[in-house]
Symmetry: none
Subunit: 216 residues, 4 copies
DNA sequence: CATGAATGAGTGTTCATTCAT
DNA sequence: TATGAATGAACACTCATTCAT
């Protein structure tokens, strides 16, 4: 029985399944919200039967939690590391972080998470707390750290970093939500890249020290 | 005023009912989301019986639509009028509009709407479209109009107003959502007034023409 | 409306419902056991819909508990009172109590309870404890009291009443179970009255003082 | 002893399996009842996998039947033989049979069977019939035979043996059920040996000819 | 108009049974 | 033989909706 090196179709499945299911669930939840999603739909999307779900997740709620975690956690570490290494100017740093952000918005998958959190936070206090601390909080702290570093280097105007951080994050959140929620119902589209350029323009202008305006 | 025999209190009641119900529904929906809210809870909050709801709204979905409309429509006209009359500088105008916004965030009631829309847009295309057009869209157009006016007057740097508008709105959205969704699960609070001050500082700096830097 | 004395079909229902449901449930449980009974069957027997059950009982388990209690409690008080009043000989007393028992066996309804308890005790510790204390225990204590009284009056041979009581109860339990469980699958029937006569004969002989053996 | 290459332990295992499974099943059924027992639990107790069960039993029901049969059949033949050989007085004979019974109660295993039968008889007509005929019926017939023999020998008072038999069996059934069902939920314990002594005392007194009442 | 008892379609969850390995 | 992943029928329970009062 399977004496050779080929792994049986099945075994491999066993390991991939949880991720496949979470993926399918993210899609389904993103489309209809947590409550309105039938587990049977998730199963169908994942190409399995309803019962099989329960081999991997104890309940719909557990599945939801898994969706949130699987989607967010890896992504955050990334951003943090990027920051730690960097040596450039604040301008460069901000553009880099924000550029990375743009990338994830395009890779639509996980950009549906905020929408889910917003809709269900009150029904999943645990998840809400986790998200607040580990995602929103961490994100804010990263931005605040950049600002502080910038102020230390004299590049950034004196500001309260913990207040400025969410202000910087705001337009990004709006973009994500727009793309995920309202754009399908709008007549016009926002071009993400143009948006980000304008955003960088405005925000950097708003935040950075005026560049020694040589005489107007 | 009750010239006839009928109890006026009662009469007024009858007319107020729909609004009372919508109010109760907004509360309930804001707390648990549309799907997770039981009509019985709404009824209880409104001090009526489950059956009575159906005398005023044909279904849960109709009630939802009413909630969205009742909450938003009046508020928008207000902002628009404010704009039309205004004669001040762009700085003043923006601060005024944005200040009005701060007021509505404090009057928490309708600030829960965005959260609802975000969670349920896909399940209520009609509502989503309405909201996109009449609320989000109109809001953007107001801001864009201010910017354009500012550019015409030479107060605002040259920018694409339709791109800049959502960027200006972003931090406001974030504040609303933070207050309504995550703050209960966070260790720290954002002081709305401080936040708005910093916001004005950054955004105005980012958007307005540099004030004639005299020479360094 | 309903100004006259007739009570609306409905109101009256409301009050009778719980008992009707418990009745239907007892039948169903008696037939198939707790686990194998579908709530839908209970509903059907009670002439109501599945959902209506839940207006009166919070869960299948609650219904089960209600069945046990409704069936047993009233019956026990009766037996106890009968005892308290009595003034006859032990023979008369035992025959009376035991006769009452025969009556309840005929009125099959509640005679299915022991069967239910036996099958589900381990799954309903609460119920088991209640039954042990309030039904089995109380029954034993009644019998033991009769015996003790009999010994005090010199009518009953010296015996440990708390051991003798279950021995006296045993044949009664067997009869109930036989009638409820195995008889449908047996070729012969036990005639309950004959059985009780023989029972009285044997047990009284076994328990009472020998009738003045004329000089032995 | 393992002279060849095949592991004998393994071999023996294979043959013992059915019995082991039935054993595990008896335990599980005794604890939770037939319906509430998951086959997975049985498998776990037996130290095998869920699928393996199906190599030995075609369904849960088949397993149940096997449990009943394996538990009862051998035990009955024993009692019958004991009777056939015996030559003592009725008193001795009864005490002997009943003593054997006491032994089996102690060896708890199969004493859970009555409980199972009582709970599931209606769901397993076949089993119920088998049990009625081969266990209950046979048991009754053994006792009846003893009584008849006793009457023939003038040791037993004239009685209808087929009515007296269940009366004699009743207290034994009660003991078994008490031990298996309610005792865990009671504050007091019944000492089985004392119980049996009192039982013998009462029943023999009730059944046997009065011991030569010296001319009364 | 108002009530709340009644309904039943819908969904999460369990578990006996199957079957590819 | 043995495994355990996969299945899907079955059932408890919920809740929007109806309607007799």
């Amino acid at each position: 029985m399977a004496r050779d090196g080929t792994s049986p179709k099945w075994r491999r499945r066993k390991e991939a399944r949880p991720a496949e299911i979470v993926d399918a669930a993210l899609d389904a939840f993103a489309e209809r919200g947590f409550a309105a999603t039938r587990l049977e739909d998730v199963a169908e999307r994942a190409g399995i039967s309803k019962g099989t779900l329960y081999l991997y997740f104890r309940s719909k709620e557990e599945l939801f939690k898994a969706v949130i975690q699987q989607a967010m956690v890896p992504n955050l570490a990334l951003a943090e590391e990027r920051l730690a290494i960097s040596t450039g100017t604040t301008r460069e740093l901000l553009l880099e972080v924000v550029g990375g952000f743009l990338g994830s918005v395009a890779g639509a998958k996980l950009s549906a998470i905020p929408k889910l959190i917003i809709g269900e936070a009150n029904n999943f206090p645990e998840v809400a707390e986790f998200y607040t601390r580990e995602v929103a909080g961490r994100g804010m702290r990263i931005i605040a750290a950049i600002l502080k570093r910038g102020m230390d280097r004299g590049e950034v105007r004196p500001l309260d970093p913990s207040l400025a951080a969410p202000i910087i994050a705001g337009p990004l959140l709006l973009l994500v939500l727009w793309k995920n929620v309202l754009e399908p119902y709008a007549k016009q589209t926002i071009d993400a890249e143009e948006y980000m350029r304008t955003y960088a323009d405005i925000l950097l202008n708003g935040v950075l020290q005026r560049p020694a305006p040589k005489e107007g």
